[in-house]
């Protein structure tokens, strides 16, 4: 086992980092995922767990604290990123947060492309909010390998605290688990002290069993987080995919003692969805995984819906989009 270190950005982080381990093919190949049973579990979960009133408000605040507020567009500029960063610092209107007693609430991180790291860092200076950068030829991950590794190194050098890498889907689809492991190992090494989130692009992996196997391989190769999607695939985060990944995380923790984080990304836009995801985390992994060092939402429009719900909680009246600041 290599030495472990901890991230410096988030005060609540106390977890030793997952150092990874040798590729254990017996373990990888023993992974099972029965799709219909998994879908049934997910279909009934929203009906089994429900949080109301002040509990719902508190849970929604927790969801905000776990958001990776994201902009990943070709037309991103320093100005656009500054606006997003301002929203990250003050995600909810001050009077609402005051009513809730939740002053000082921020999002979990801001997530941008490499060239936006510097503007993001500037805009977030002093906030303690980490900057995450997507990397390794995001979203397809098909650029030359040495460039993908170099991109990570550049982003770390530019001050990214977290790196969201994309895996080579072809390694999964062809069953080349060793190649996936080696690639992930290299990415992790290139990240250094920055945390690495492995984006599996689950919508392109073909089966839940592949999702389970890819999750295990990436964790064995030292991923700090496993993440569903780039947000650019036609199918992004879903509850069944999440359940499979959470079960893989649980098994990895049971066997190694290391906690790996989870980030669903893409398609989560409603406050209600966020509550379901939080309850899924709580049920499958426990309360420890409800903190931002182990759980993030990759989302852009989710925050707006949560803001409206929180205002409704405070005033009793339904809110409208224009009553909340743009991010």
């Amino acid at each position: 086992m290599q030495a472990t270190d901890t991230t410096k950005q988030l005060p609540q982080v106390t977890e030793p980092r997952n150092p990874g381990q040798e590729l254990d093919m017996d373990w990888v190949m023993s992974a099972r995922a029965n799709s219909s049973a998994i879908e049934r579990r997910c279909a009934t979960l929203p009906g089994r767990r429900s949080v109301k009133k002040e509990y719902q408000a508190a849970w929604l605040c927790r969801a905000i604290s776990c958001i990776d507020l994201t902009t990943l567009a070709g037309d991103d500029t320093a100005g656009r990123v500054a606006r997003l960063a301002a929203k990250a610092r003050q995600p909810v209107r001050a009077d609402i947060l005051e009513s809730l007693g939740m002053q000082g609430l921020t999002v979990g991180a801001v997530c941008v492309y490499h060239d936006m790291i510097a503007p993001a860092r500037d805009a977030l200076a002093g906030s303690g909010i980490p900057v995450a950068a997507v990397s390794t030829g995001f979203p397809a991950g098909l650029s030359p390998f040495h460039l993908r590794v170099a991109e990570i190194e550049e982003s770390v050098k530019a001050g990214a605290d977290e790196i969201d890498i994309v895996i080579s889907r072809r390694h999964v689809l062809t069953g080349n688990w060793q190649a996936l492991y080696d690639e992930m190992r290299a990415f992790r090494a290139a990240c250094g002290a920055a945390h690495v989130k492995a984006i599996l692009a689950t919508g392109e992996l073909g089966s839940l069993r592949n999702v389970a196997r890819a999750s295990l391989v990436c964790m064995m190769a030292g991923a700090d987080f496993i993440k569903t999607s780039t947000g650019k695939e036609s199918v992004n985060a879903t509850l069944p995919v999440s359940l499979v990944m959470l079960r893989a995380i649980r098994e990895y923790h049971d066997k190694t003692g290391y906690r790996v984080g989870y980030k669903p990304a893409g398609g989560i836009s409603k406050a209600k969805d966020a509550l379901v995801y939080l309850s899924l985390m709580k049920e499958e992994l426990g309360d420890r995984w409800l903190l931002p060092d182990l759980f993030r939402f990759g989302a852009s429009s989710l925050l707006g819906d949560i803001e409206r719900q929180l205002e409704h909680h405070v005033t009793g009246a339904y809110s409208a989009k224009w009553r909340h600041a743009m991010g």
């Binding site: 099972r32 049973a37 998994i38 049934r40 949080v51 109301k52 508190a58 927790r62 007693g101 049920e283």
Partner: protein
Amino acid sequence: MTVKEIFDSMDYGPAPESAAEALAWLVDQGDRFGHFIDGAFTDPGDGFDSRNPATGEVLATLTQATQADVDAAVAAARRAQPKWARLNGHGRARHLYALARMIQKHARLFAVLETLDNGKPIREARDIDVPLVHRHFYHHAGLAQLMDSELPGLAPHGVCGQVIPWNFPLLMLAWKVAPALAAGNTVVLKPAEYTSLTALLFADICRRAGLPKGVVNIVTGDGMAGEMVVAHKGMDKVAFTGSTDVGRAIRRATAGHGKALTLELGGKSAYIVFDDADLDSAVEGLVDAIWFNGGQVCCAGSRLIVQEGIAEEFHRRLRTRMENLRIGDPMDKCIDVGAIVDQAQRDRIAQMVAGCTTGHVHQVTAQLPAQGCFYPPTLITGLQPSDPLMQEEIFGPVLVSTTFRTPAEAVELANDTRYGLAASVWSENLNLALDVAPKLVAGVIWVNATNLFDAAAPFGGMRESGFGREGGWEGLRAYLRAEGKPKPLARIDPFEGDGDAPEGLDRTAKLYIGGKQARPDGGYTRTVFGKSGKPVGEAPIANRKDIRNAVEAATGAAASWGKTTGHARAQILYYIAENLEARADEFAARIDAMTGGRKGKNEVQASISRLFTWAAWVDKFDGRVKGVPLRGVAMAMRAPVGVIGALCPDEAPLLGLISVMGPAMAMGNASVLVASEPYPLAATDFYQVLETSDVPGGVVNVLTGPHAELAPTLARHAGVDALWSFSSTDLSAQIERDSAETLKRTWVNNAHARDWMGAAGEGHAFLDAATEVKTIWVPYGE
């Protein structure tokens, strides 16, 4: 708690469902209920309190039905029935559709009232029970619509007496009422005394939906009222869901009444987990198997059978999962396990677990509510089949577990039970799962799933889990009988005569057991006389030990015969016909000599045709693939019953025997046939045909002797899976009574004649009787 505190703790907090609307409905009814008879509520009479088991508070006062109440309900149902049946399929479909819509419109009221009355989590009442209820009425509206064209020649029984349990009060009502009404029957239903409120709300809905008065009648009360309903002479059909003991008592109480009967009783359903299963999904499945409705489910997967190599890991994951179960106020939307229906039930569960001296008992550590009837989810590992808790139904949130080594051993362990209701099989290997599923003795089998239900998919048990199916075409059939008025069947006594030996060389007829000719155990023989009083031959007199030997032979043969391909079985049936025809004249003469008639030739020809019929049916009685709301299939397969005993018709010595043997053989059963009592020699000649026709030993066993003496032995023999009687001796009451202990399926003639030469001598009634419907659910998807 402040938002900030909850933000740190991330507790769920309370999520209470409002009881206001349901309580308001009770207040509107005066909190006191009479019965619902002839379209109106009677004045409340002396009765009992209905309580909320989670709090102990009284919800309403109900009326205990008297004999006069039941009489009035039956009379109202009787008056209403002819007109209801004459409405025709479409007319009834419109009413069933209206009921479905009304239930759907008042879904939340039904769900909340159910939870208040029963203690099940509101989530289950709301998301499972009530949706299945209106789905059941919708589905049966469709069956009513199609019945006239699809089920010609069938008629409703008339008035149905139905008694239902407290675990799924409204759902069981739907399972009983919808098919009865669809088929053109009227009903008198008695809900369980603990849980009558949703039935009374349903009565209110019937009234408001404009259901003709008298079509649905509901009487309330305890077991005494239930006895009055099932034993009432005015009932044509009785249906019961509940405990095996009460089912037995009902079988005895209705014996010989001529009533059709279906029983859906207890279970100890196996939950088999192979080492290649998706273990986390299998663990999650157990939550729905044994902690659904607090384990108070007849088909609860209560017997975990897990492959030895993964048992420890599987139990570990299961215990971890158990800690996340939330137990408490069933009206909380965030609760997994609610209250046990009554203190007496809770105490019974606690007593059974306390009496378990072996294995390791694990209970969840969560705090139970201070008051109300709660019992913690429990896992008992390390038990053996010989431990009582592996065999006895607990009917609570208690899972017992044992291990197996091989697929064959898993099947053996799963079937090592008096029950046969349901089973689950978990494996990612399709070959394994689909091989094991049909081998399980159970009416419902879920592959990689558990507790899936649908109105289109037949549900019901085998062995001491009862008989009959509910749901789909198969379930509807239980509410229909053959059209027309049956003719009485007079007893046919043997001819008497004097003892001169028949002409020619002596012939010794024997019994035919296990493919061999056997002398009767008792060593007695009787002379068979013709009409003129001259001896025709001599027939052995079988006794109880011959029955024992024949059943043993049949049991040995049944397993492999059931696995023989349909094509092979057909070839053997055709070959029997071929060999019979070669001796047609001899058989015709024998029949004429015994009966004193001249139609022996016709009977032989009809027998050959009948063998062709059953050879034809062998591979054409297809199961059905059900259109269930699921990505997957639910296959209602037709499995052999096993060992069928039969008292063959007296009046048609050869044709009768073949009419009974044919469907049994064709559908893969072994049979023990007691030949025509007055005319036994066609049967003893016939075994020579069997001997020359490649019939494997034990598949058909032929005995001769007095029906009245042999019937009780067959009826009480635990190894006989079904018993048919077409004897002209009226043994119906005795057979039904004697079969109660083992709850075997019976098919008796109630002293009614059957036209063996005509269409009534073959067809669907025989196919149904010779098969068990086994519904195998196979969800799929990668």
